[in-house]
Amino acid sequence: MQWKLLSQKKIVLPNGKEVLEKRSIMPLMWLILLLLTFLSIRITNFSIEVIVNRISQFFVIIQQMIPPNWTYLSKLWQPLFDTIKMSLFGSILGAICALPIAMLAATNITKNKWITTSSKFILSLLRTLPTLIVALIATFIFGLGTMAGTIAIFLFTIAYVGKLLYEQIENVDMKAYEAMYSMGLTTIQAFRYAIMPQILPNYLSTSLFCFEGNVRYASILGYVGAGGIGLLLNESLGWRSYANVGMILLMLVCTVFIIETTSEYLRKKLM
């Protein structure tokens, strides 16, 4: 580590000129990092001893998961499809709704500063709350079931796609838009013909990526009663029937892998 913090290094060049080397802030950063780590260890009661002594418990559980309980498979299809449907519906609807909101939030399309700032604020507010907590709140409002999960995914998709989309809209080439606008097209028409073609591939690819992530999130939403396969996961974990848990996880890994591969392929084609 470079402890140059206290003394500025003076280098004398062969021609007699003196050069001061800039102080590095790295030592200070490392110090802060170490301090924070130490504090975190104190707060969370982190201890290596416990890990060494009891980590075997973790592998005991994994051992019970293998082999998975294949007979449980027949009960899994319905909730699994529910999970996929939830994320599909939420993602499609959310991606569609994100478009107008992103238009409102982009400073080069919407000239009113109040509207852009408040739309941006709403988007970042929606993005802060973890999906599971939104789902938890949604179960109180919309009752237990897939509806609550769909709402949570819908809101997250709006926030995520909306944010990336308005950043793209703000970075597009505005010449075509301005030309069309000056020819007398309305804002919407000019947006449709000048900006849409520029952002469409990115928009679709972002939405696909968001859908990918949503399948993952949707799988745990059932934990708070928001429908899907998480419900069974919660049940099996509660009863400690780890063979069933293993089956659920295996199905999840396969589903996510298939969806990820497909979406990665599609995204590569889009780009």
Binding site: V50, F58, I92, M147
Partner: protein
Amino acid sequence: MNAIDKQLQLQPNRRMSYIMTIFILSILFVWSVSTIHFENVSLNGTKIAKNILVGLLNPDWSLIFNVSTGGIPYLLIETMAIAFLGTIVGALLAIPLAFLSASNIMPKPIAFVVRLLLIIIRTIPAIVYGLMFIRVTGPGPFAGVLTMSLTSIGMLSKLYVDVIEDLDKSVLESMEAIGCTLMEKIRFGIWPQLTALFLSIVIYRFDMNLRDATVLGLVGAGGIGAPLIFAMNAYKWSEVGAILLGLILLILVVEFVSNRIRTKLVRG
């Protein structure tokens, strides 16, 4: 036919592919409509929604300014500590795994197996790890730290690999030409290339972990999630409002700071 018409006809005809995409999307959409149902939505729903809003607007200030271990400031600090320590442990553990799964360093079969392992680690939801680690350490923030470390590994090593595979090797060649030893090559050739990008990735992951850490409380792995769910189940909306307010504020601040640091790191 004038030049403009000719140019127009040169435009590729994408109508078929548009129609097909929209067709497939609508089929999927209609298939998934069954998740929407309103029979569970009772009149209670609107009342609760209103209560939550009122709670957010009138948060329980005594809870926000409570400095004991039950107060929101301490819970937020605990959540941050879980995310922070989890990120650090995960970041360290991910480095060897990343080198193992980089296909330009390791033989293909090893890289493939490690990659598969990472996909599996990444897919299993954090809550499942949380419940498994609680059996190891008992409920509390320690279980949260272990969970965060494990879930971070998957994404971090995937992003590390991208950086490693993009390493500029010409620097190493020129260093070899002027006679640097292996250690010098690593210290002055590889390390400076990796640190800034690795740090930026780790900070990004910390941002994500903070969000996930708030969720871990739901399974008893420490952090602010547990008080939140207790308050909701007890219909104490002003407490819920206070917790949500603290959470939103914390995440917004951390996101702002981490974005600033990351742009500085990447741009140098």
